[in-house]
């Protein structure tokens, strides 16, 4: 009798174990079934704030690249990996692109540094600001972007963004830092620069630079580099 009792207990334990394994397996499978997040890799994020060309199909099925970013501003060449002179290699994930205003002939530069760690960002901000101070004038500034092109009519007008103004012989423009713009759950940090090549009166180019900002990923919540303010 005792043997049977033990046998029954064993069976119950076995059934319970199988149920537990089944439930665990189902939960594991359900978790594996979720789609996403599909977060972009660093190679993509190093170009995130650089206005990109549009691609369309031609009649014969090949591609056509539309390099016009906005009205008269066109992308020259491709988005290049690496930081252009005189900007420092703050991150191994850095890209830049050059744009031309086909009417005025002015050339604009957008640089994007990507970081996946807040400590690296803070370090980079310090390095950047000391470098900027040694090569030009640094000041705080505020930009009011006229509204994102695709915002809905009932959405509030884009709030002003605080940036760092930089003026030098080589290039003048605006620096901004954006933290976790893709998702508050993901560590993505960016330092972005929108500037004009060569010595220039910056206010004359602010409208064009703001257009480039509007054609890039949202700068909502941007702030100036900490050590520059």
């Amino acid at each position: 009798m005792k043997f049977l009792e033990n046998d029954r207990t064993g069976r119950v334990a076995l059934v319970l174990l199988l149920i537990a394994v089944g439930v665990f397996g189902a939960l594991l499978l359900l978790d594996l079934l979720m789609i996403g997040p599909g977060h972009p890799p660093p190679k993509a994020l190093q170009k995130w704030y650089i206005p990109q060309p549009r691609y369309e199909y031609a009649e014969n099925g090949t591609f056509v690249v539309n390099r016009t970013i906005d009205r008269d501003i066109v992308l020259i060449g491709d988005i290049e990996e690496g930081c252009p002179s005189p900007f420092p290699d703050l991150s191994r994930y850095c890209s830049h692109a050059v744009y031309l205003d086909t009417v005025s002939g002015d050339r604009y530069l957008v640089v994007n540094w990507y970081f996946d760690d807040n400590a690296d960002l803070l370090q980079a901000e310090g390095d950047l600001c000391s470098r900027l101070r040694s090569s030009g004038n640094v000041a705080s500034a505020e930009l009011i972007l006229p509204g994102e092109p695709d915002r809905s009519p009932d959405e509030p007008i884009f709030s002003p963004i605080s940036v760092t103004k930089f003026e030098s012989e080589a290039s003048s423009g605006y620096f901004a830092v954006v933290e976790k713009p893709l998702s508050p759950e993901h560590d993505d940090y960016f330092i972005v620069y929108y500037g004009v090549f060569g010595p220039a009166i910056l206010p004359d180019h602010t409208a064009a630079l703001e257009e480039l900002m509007l054609r890039s990923y949202s700068l909502r919540g941007a702030r100036p580099p900490a050590s520059c303010s």
């Binding site: 789609i35 997040p37 972009p40 090949t62 959405e155 998702s183």
Partner: protein, 413 residues
């Protein structure tokens, strides 16, 4: 907590079954050896599957033109020549792949890797960069690691044999010999991040009937690709121009390219609705609010993940919110390439959700579990789907079937 509606239980169970059938072999896949796979083919008639360098060179020429004509980033490869560069081997020492330099006007423009055996896909990789063995720093570092390993055992290293064990898996195998020059052992170094690798970890776990069945299906696909190539190679001029090898294509212009926000599924879905916004359904909001609304409707997690069966519900909800209750979206976990073609031909972009999605053509990062917007197809010797992948504004192509599982969410007005 969100409760699954009864009408969703069956699709969910079907998807669970699908996932189980493809994922279980991997989860439980203990390291069985390659011999098992050989045993399964013992009864097959013997056939020489080796591809000669000459044939591979012709394939590389053909494909370079095809790539130049269809991928904008590689347009500068048009009329490029190929020059044989390197032979890579498998773990058994048999040729696995040949790399060819792509040269345009005497300038190096990249490489294309062609399989050295008909048991693998004809074109394995192509890129504008360099194979890791072309980087002298990586090779030197690898030699040093192998040298240190050998020294500790009182052995010497010989000349490395380059191995290719699958996309991005480049290794160097150094023979280890004693002071008399007699080979005693070998050490394998991963060239991409120079370090010693355990040989057993480089072998694929092959076990389970479903996995073997999948492999057999894959082999059928590979055979079909080679047969298609054979036909092309019989052409009097094997260096066929891009125009003559375009096959049939379908494409949809006007699908916006949105960058990732809040999750791939709401972003991909927003691209599809963004298309309809400019094609007769103009009430949808702009990019940011549309993605936000879709993420909420789909119950996308704060990390950006979405239950697949909530994608169509979310799209339906958002359509209804903007007065388009007649718009119908539905999930299809059993889509076929013919369905993809007919949907694209009907000018209806759709959401394509991938489980363990592969690397796009010319890319270097696999998609994994990812939703994209499908905007076209190419029916060549290889079938491709054209997508907006939420990672940039380009149109990318991925080989149809280069995933463990896929689900289409059709969006039809």
């Amino acid at each position: 907590m969100k409760i699954m509606r009864p009408k969703k239980v069956l699709p969910a169970l079907l998807m669970l079954l699908l996932a189980a059938s493809v994922l279980l072999p991997i989860i439980v896949g203990a390291a069985a050896t390659m011999e098992e796979s050989h045993q399964t083919t013992e009864c097959s008639p013997e056939r020489d599957l080796t591809v000669s360098v000459h044939t591979a060179s012709s394939i590389a020429s053909l494909k370079v033109n095809e790539i130049a004509g269809n991928i904008p980033d590689f347009a500068d490869w048009r009329n490029g020549n190929v020059e044989f560069s390197t032979t890579y081997y498998d773990l058994e020492g048999a040729p696995a792949a040949y790399s060819f330099d792509v040269v345009v006007n005497r300038e190096y423009r990249g490489y294309i890797l062609v399989s050295a055996t008909r048991s693998n896909y004809p074109v394995l990789e192509f890129s504008k960069g360099f194979t890791p063995d072309k980087c002298s720093e990586l090779m030197t570092h690898s030699s040093e690691i192998a040298g240190t390993f050998a020294e500790k055992r009182g052995l010497n290293t010989g000349d490395a044999e380059l191995l290719y064990l699958g996309a991005t898996f480049y290794y160097a195998k150094f023979p280890l010999a004693d002071s008399r020059g007699i080979r005693q052992d070998s050490v394998i170094i991963d060239l991409t991040a120079p370090s010693i690798v355990d040989e057993s970890s480089t072998r694929l776990p092959v076990t389970g009937d479903e996995f073997l069945q999948q492999q057999q299906e894959k082999q059928k696909e590979i055979s079909a690709l080679w047969e298609g190539l054979d036909d092309q190679m019989k052409s009097p001029d094997p260096t066929i121009t891009a125009e003559s090898v375009t096959g049939t294509s379908g494409y949809i212009n006007g699908v916006p390219t949105y960058l990732w926000q809040l999750g791939c599924s709401p972003t991909a879905s927003a691209m599809v609705l963004g298309y309809w916004d400019s094609h007769g359904y103009p009430n949808f909001p702009g990019e940011d609010p549309l993605i936000q609304e879709l993420a909420t409707a789909m119950g996308t997690t704060p990390e950006g993940s979405t239950w697949p069966w909530d994608i169509d519900d979310g799209i339906d909800e958002v359509c209804a919110n903007h007065g388009y209750s007649s718009m119908d979206s539905s999930d299809d976990a059993w889509m076929t390439f013919d369905e993809v073609k007919s949907e694209v031909d009907a000018q209806r972009p759709f959401v394509l959700s991938l489980w363990s999605g592969g690397t796009p053509i010319g890319g270097d990062e696999p998609y994994g579990d990812h939703s994209v917007a499908c905007v076209g197809y190419h029916d060549y010797t290889e079938d491709w789907v054209s997508i907006h992948d939420t990672w940039d504004t380009q149109i990318h192509n991925i080989v149809y079937g280069d995933w463990l599982g896929a689900m289409a969410t059709w969006v039809r007005p």
